[in-house]
């Protein structure tokens, strides 16, 4: 029953990633694409954790933690670069 629930949850996250990829290709603004990328990496973290449950290994959680950190940095840097033209304030 748990294996079936993991498979159904993986399918649901795959559908969510497809919808976010549609917005990534379609989005009228650059920030829409940044938002779609953020949704994609958030879903990818959950997919990696679910794969770790499915394969019963602890190795996937470090990968999920790394993806969380790098995805956050990428989103913030891209949003600041689009919004104000530079990433780090220097006066």
């Amino acid at each position: 029953m748990i294996g079936m629930a993991i498979s159904i949850a993986l399918l649901l996250f795959a559908v969510a990633m497809l919808l976010a990829a549609w917005r990534l290709l379609q989005g009228p603004d650059i920030l829409d694409r940044v938002l779609a990328l953020e949704t994609l990496y958030t879903n990818a973290i959950a997919v990696v954790i679910l794969l770790g449950l499915k394969f019963a290994t602890q190795l996937y959680f470090e990968a999920a933690l790394l993806m969380a950190m790098l995805g956050f940095i990428g989103t913030v840097v891209t949003a600041r670069f689009v919004g104000r033209g530079d990433v780090i304030d220097h006066d």
Partner: protein, 138 residues
């Protein structure tokens, strides 16, 4: 996988948490596709990053803690990181959108004669690029 040792109520609990996470992710992505303006689209995927990630992580915490017979809590690190950083990135994106087109900023309530934010942002929008007074506002 030692799924046969799990009691029935725990199987139902873990499966419900995983499916709740998946359904929330689908709802968030559906909102990302279907909503009309950028700020409503910004609102929808935050449900994915709280309830979706939270459901999956809580399900994996309960499952791994039961089958390894000790408290496996290093998923809490991922949950804490995602919950802390999701509002920051959403705030940065909203601020970037408002900086890019200042006429989307709604007027402040109250005394609109003396300090109209629309006039200030229009003046700051003329000097976009240099933006020294705008930086002192933030």
């Amino acid at each position: 996988m030692t799924a046969a040792e799990l009691p029935r109520w725990l199987e139902i609990l873990i499966s419900g948490l995983l499916l709740l996470g998946g359904l929330t992710a689908v709802l968030g992505a559906l909102g990302l596709v279907r909503f009309r303006t950028f700020f409503t689209r910004l609102h929808a995927p935050t449900k994915t990053s709280t309830l979706g990630i939270g459901g999956v992580l809580l399900g994996s915490i309960v499952y791994l803690s039961w089958i390894s017979e000790m408290a496996v809590i290093h998923q809490v690190l991922i949950a804490m990181f995602v919950f802390l950083t999701a509002p920051i990135s959403a705030h940065q994106m909203a601020k970037a959108m408002l900086d890019a087109n200042p006429d989307m900023r709604p007027p402040l309530p109250g005394n609109t004669e003396t300090d109209s934010p629309r006039r200030e942002t229009a003046r700051a929008g003329d000097q976009a690029g240099t933006g020294s007074d705008r930086r002192s506002q933030h």
